[in-house]
Symmetry: C2
């Protein structure tokens, strides 16, 4: 969308919406009638005073309320009168108060970043501190912000190479004095990145929070502003020094919870409280701007602690979810393609069909690490209860406790990024490095 034209006459409009308004020869302030799918709206055409997409037209109804109308292809617009032209003035941008904690915001893309990309309808590829203060003025009361756009990618396109870059960038900001770091990220794979940073940022001195938004900014239900404000608050003040993922606790707009980066999963395609801690309690809750720790068992903030970045990941690690009719040839293919290791997403307590035993034996014989997790997600694998589990352990499959399959995958990529020794990989996979293995499990 870079280079897209922005209208002087129709401030805030661009793309599709701008085209339709220009064609209808209407101006800001005109009384207009919009017909769409049999519905009729009448009101005064407003400038777009908020960050938004190019798919909505905003009018002020006779009731005084503004509404955004989606521009479907069948939309019809006519001028029915000329009104007084409303003016839109940018509110004054507050400045950060000196003496506040320094917080870095690193943007990787996603819905939360797109909100701050587009100000007043114009395309804004830069995410500057003043942009952020303008959008969420309360930020200036909380922290002195340093902002960096690292990437501008959709999170479904994230790869381990981007994790490496993100980890290095977080480390640099901490080295430069950040007292907390917020990473803006698309929600699709935010939990994978949270796990990746949990392993890559060892001996962390300050909090690192990943934050995203499920709703884009032009929707009244957008969760972007509060998610960002509360993440910065926690980055500035929270007493922990771990990698967490910040998201709404419930669909009510009150609390943000901080999930441990290795124990969190996206559990709904669209809800604002989509992220859930699995087999663990969240680390903290932020309510009315205050951070409340939910456990005593966490790494304390200590600015004197020296961060040890271990940002490398090995991509050739497979995730295999088994099911009735699963073809063991898929495992053979991974062996043939010289994969380093496989995480099995087994059934129940950690089982796969006996039909796959030979393929797994082959993988073990080729010196691959084969770890077991459960597609149940909740609970822990226990391969001693049934014959199938005992057989798999005898073959050499390593049970991975209550680690989530996604976390186990990321951890195995990380482990092979540190060493090529199978013994050392095994040792790392069975060590609790960032809270990924818990001794008891919580079911919520």
């Amino acid at each position: 969308m870079a280079g897209e034209l922005v209208s002087e006459k129709l401030p805030g409009y661009r793309g599709t919406a701008l085209g339709i308004l220009e064609k209808a020869r209407v101006d800001i302030g005109d009384q207009i009638r919009i017909k769409r799918n049999g519905e009729v709206y009448e009101g005064i055409l407003m400038p777009r005073s908020e960050l938004g997409d190019d798919k909505h037209i905003e009018i002020k109804l006779a009731t005084g309320y503004n509404i955004g109308i989606h521009v479907s292809p069948a939309i019809k617009i006519e001028k029915i009168g000329k009104g007084t032209k409303p003016t839109f003035t940018q509110p004054p941008i507050p400045k950060a108060k000196p003496g506040l904690p320094k917080v870095s915001i690193i943007s990787t893309g996603g819905t939360i970043a797109s909100r701050v990309d587009y100000r007043t309808g114009a395309v804004r590829p830069a995410l500057s501190a003043s942009d952020l203060y303008a959008v969420v003025p309360e930020l200036s009361d909380v922290a002195v912000i340093k902002a960096e756009i690292l990437f501008s990618i959709l999170s479904e396109n994230m790869t381990p190479k981007y994790w490496t870059e993100t980890a290095k960038t977080v480390a640099r900001h901490i080295a430069e004095g950040a007292q907390g770091v917020v990473v803006a990220h698309g929600t699709d794979t935010m939990h994978y990145t949270a796990a990746a940073l949990s392993f890559a940022l060892q001996n962390l001195p300050v909090p690192v929070l990943l934050v995203g938004s499920q709703r884009s900014s032009d929707r009244p239900s957008s969760d972007a502003a509060l998610n960002l404000l509360y993440s910065v608050t926690a980055a500035a003040n929270a007493p922990f020094a771990e990698v967490t993922l910040a998201f709404r606790e419930t669909i009510a707009d009150k609390c943000i919870v901080l999930h441990r980066g290795t124990k969190v999963r996206k559990c709904h395609t669209s809800r604002r409280d989509t992220f859930k801690s699995i087999n663990a309690k969240p680390l903290a809750r932020i309510e009315e701007g205050k951070v409340l720790m939910l456990t005593e068992d966490y790494r304390r903030r200590d600015p004197k602690r020296k961060l040890i970045p271990k940002p490398n990941f090995e991509e050739k690690v497979g995730l295999v979810k088994v099911h009735p009719g699963f073809n063991p040839k898929i495992i053979e293919w991974l062996v043939k393609d010289e994969y380093h290791g496989i995480i099995l997403e087994g059934t129940g307590l950690g089982h796969v069909s006996a039909a796959a035993f030979d393929a797994i034996k082959l993988a073990v014989k080729k010196n691959m690490f084969v770890g077991m997790t459960s597609q149940c997600l909740w609970g822990r694998v226990d391969m001693k209860v049934y014959e199938t589990g005992r057989d798999l352990m005898a073959i050499g499959v390593v049970p991975l406790g209550d680690m989530l399959p996604e976390t186990a995958l990321v951890k195995l990529m990380w482990a092979y990024g540190q060493t090529k020794s199978l013994d050392e990989v095994k040792r790392l996979m069975l060590s609790n490095i960032a809270g990924e293995i818990s001794s008891r499990t919580h079911f919520e």
Copy 2:
């Protein structure tokens, strides 16, 4: 374990426990002392009056309570006195009361069937109606039972071929007059089989219930008896005619819920309330022996309706869960191996990395059905919201609403079992055949 010796002198004991007792030269009724891992137990050696494994020895403590002691290798047993020999008489086996509804129990294996396999410690490969009445006497008040052992396999070894056999057997029992059918099944893949039967048994006249148990019978927390009794109750009396999965609602021993076969998933490795309805409410609850429907939206029981079995499945259908670092070659392999179709388990609203677009194009070009579900599990895919979804739809990927990935996989295997026409497969995949697609989603 077939052919294992059973002791006349030590009734109910076999295998490991029998060997240890024989070596210690103790008899039923003897006062014995058991030392194990520093613990000491004293009591009277009891016959095993219940179905059990070969790993426990039962003694009556001075308090009057019986306990089962696990026979670890380090166990030591000595006789410390001779008591009066307690007698164990088999309680009279009740007979079914004539006039009750006819219910068939078809056993495929798993923990719940193993309970009724072993009576009084002896190996009993036959699951007869009288066995069942002996174990759960209340059954004789509820139904006239016809029992059939179809397989004796662990559910992780289930394949689509077994689904076909199970569907045919259920159909035969219904043709022979069963007013309800209970299928005993291991829990690991019970939800896959529930989905399979939901599609295979069209125009069902009576209820079909899959039931299993998370705890084996020798554990005091076993859920086998109540699960079985309540399933038979529902099979005999419930007003619906659908395929459901019966399991505990909570960890308290009170209620059984019946989940729709296409909307249920195993969500905990070990808890007794492991099965959860996803994107749907359960169909019914059984409390104190009464069936309470939880929705009005269900197919009514109608014994005059004619069942249409469609039991065929095509195994060459793949389930592909994507993740950062996912290798698109995996999709190319499935194309090369002449798979018929693929269910993608995408991220968020139904996305995969742009790096996989070419491989997906190849699959579509080869006339494969490619359907999209979400690894979030809850919610529905919506591929119109973001660019990635729209691109994937343009390539030819079909969004599958709020269908669970596992259900979509089973349904695609079933669809290709009915037809090889891609158009007809598409039509089937987008038709709501057994409640697998709902217009609204429920989040719990």
